[in-house]
């Protein structure tokens, strides 16, 4: 087999497009969060730069770039710089397996609206999520500060604990669909058959685990300001800090995409095929459907953050191990029994 350069070119274009959208998305998620939080707290929020403050994110980035990059004296320089890179890298890589739409026909060529269609998509997501711990843990350790270390340790303990229930709730979907491929999972969610309806308990456990994995309130103990100053990124400044910031919001967006793909039917617009519209418009509608669903989930993330207070550490752990894990196990067992019964009847 010879190397197909056109395929590679298309993939590169897809990667670039997706990453640009993702990064812009991050910038405006930050803006949205600030506006929404202001709204919830009865403030105004950023409204000076540009119309309604829309240029605020760009100014923020410029500000962060111009700041001095400080590395603490006793810190391990290499690991200190490596940690934010890992965080961002992991967050940006996860997008690779998410299908944004069905096939689209452009210039007489069928293109899949997914960067990489791998047969282990679900596992790929889980694997990358589990790697995300490293960025936080290493930043906590390498800063050589007690606040950072405590934040890093909390983060790794929390993420390991919630990874289990995350994986177990995903297994329910895998059981129903009999595959790890995300595009097949989305294809199977036609009509009303969204996984949120088929897997309500799994959806709730996955959602909670996703909050914990992204270190958002009510699970933001790794960066609890009142106790830990800033948690694992206390000793970071300038662009390295910005990278952590970027990673956090990229994780939020990616989680939203994953939740959309797995539970909310992905790009499926219920009964769209019955309307009889041209394939081109249908593809665009599908992408729009996906984006709207994802934006809705992101807004949900922000809403939760500004309404629910933080857990205590022991509450967090007992929730993870005593409620989430048994609930997702139960979900798995019940699902497998039902799948077995349906298969043999």
């Amino acid at each position: 087999m010879t190397v197909n350069w056109i395929e590679i070119l298309i993939t590169v274009i897809k990667i670039l497009l997706v990453q640009i959208i993702l990064l812009t998305g991050v910038a405006y998620t930050v803006y949205t969060e600030r506006r929404v939080s202001a709204f919830i707290q009865n403030r105004i929020g950023p409204n000076r730069v540009g119309p309604a403050g829309l240029l605020q994110p760009i100014v923020d980035v410029v500000k962060l770039l111009m700041k001095e990059d400080i590395v603490p004296n006793q810190a391990n320089r290499f690991i200190h710089s490596l940690a934010p890179a890992i965080s961002v890298g992991v967050a940006l890589c996860t997008v690779a397996v998410i299908p944004f739409g069905d096939k689209i026909i452009l210039f007489g060529r069928e293109i899949k609206l997914q960067i990489a269609s791998v047969n282990i998509g679900v596992l790929y997501i889980l694997a990358l999520v589990s790697l995300g711990v490293y960025g936080i843990t290493l930043s906590g350790w390498s800063s050589n500060s007690k606040y950072s270390l405590l934040g890093g340790l909390r983060a790794s303990a929390q993420m390991i604990s919630y990874e289990l229930s995350m994986g177990l709730s995903l297994l329910g979907i895998v059981l129903i669909n009999g595959t790890f491929e995300l595009d097949t999972i989305v294809l199977n969610q036609y009509g009303w058959k969204w996984n949120i309806i088929l897997q309500p308990i799994g959806f709730i456990t996955f959602l909670v685990a996703a909050f914990a994995e992204t270190n958002r309130t009510p699970f933001d103990l790794p960066e609890a300001e009142q106790e830990l100053v800033g948690g694992y990124h206390t000793e970071y400044s300038s662009m390295k800090f910005a990278l952590f910031f970027l990673a956090e919001y990229a994780n939020v967006i990616v989680s939203a995409c994953i939740i959309t793909t797995l539970y909310l039917g992905g790009w499926q617009f219920p009964y769209l095929q019955t309307f009889g519209i041209s394939p081109m418009i249908m593809s665009i509608l599908q992408i729009l459907t996906f984006l709207i669903k994802a934006i809705f989930v992101v807004l949900f993330f922000i809403w939760i953050r500004w309404t629910i207070p933080r857990f205590r550490y022991d509450q967090l752990m007992s929730l993870g191990w005593k409620i989430m894990l048994p609930a997702s196990l139960l979900n798995l067992v019940v699902t497998s029994i039902i799948v077995l019964l349906l298969k043999y009847n």
């Binding site: 791998v118 596992l123 589990s130 906590g140 340790l153 790794s156």
Partner: protein, 182 residues
């Protein structure tokens, strides 16, 4: 993809893997060692991918890099280990003997392989197809839960015992029943 690309990738991964393994055992800082071990696992999972075993590759990443090594780092950080100072201990007879013995062992294995190489004429037929199959999760699952159901069960008990053991050996308050209570 042609074969040569795979070979080039394999050589790159193998070199990184060996390099990281060497760094792992020679670094004095335990955290650095752990990081090199992670790099090593990563390259090994890359090699699995080259063998078309995606499932095993991703499991390697999830289990070893995602779970085990995080706990490793966790423990190292909690213990706050300093650099290992005693490593450069002076020469001792014991050490010499062990080094000599292990060199002998490797030379023995190496010569056996070297001279035995002519004996082997591998028939790659069938092996290729088999490896492609093994890489698939459905194939593995089907095998494991039908043919190999019994060994899987035993492996499950093995993990159960390991969990019980961890609790038995590490639980803080674990006082036995006093004789008068029984």
């Amino acid at each position: 993809m042609d074969l040569s690309l795979i070979s080039i990738l394999f050589v790159i991964l193998a070199v990184i893997s060996i390099f990281s393994a060497l760094m792992l055992i020679t670094r004095k800082n335990p955290v650095t060692s752990a990081l090199y071990l992670i790099l090593n696992f990563f390259t090994v999972s890359g090699i699995y991918l080259l063998l078309k075993a995606q499932f095993i590759a991703i499991i390697q990443v999830m289990v070893y890099m995602g779970a085990i090594m995080v706990l490793f780092l966790f423990v190292i950080m909690l213990l706050n280990l300093r650099d290992e100072k005693n490593l450069t201990e002076s020469f001792s007879f014991k050490k010499l003997t062990s080094v000599l013995l292990s060199i002998t062992f490797f030379v023995l294995i190496g010569t056996t392989f070297y001279f035995g190489f002519s004996n082997i004429n591998p028939s790659r037929q069938g092996v290729e197809e088999k490896t492609v199959e093994i890489g698939k999760a459905t194939f593995l699952g089907e095998k494991l839960f039908t043919e190999f159901a019994m060994p899987v069960l035993i492996a499950g008990i093995l993990l159960l015992v390991a969990i019980i053991g961890a609790v038995v050996l590490a639980k803080k308050k674990f006082d036995p029943v006093s004789p008068d209570k029984e």
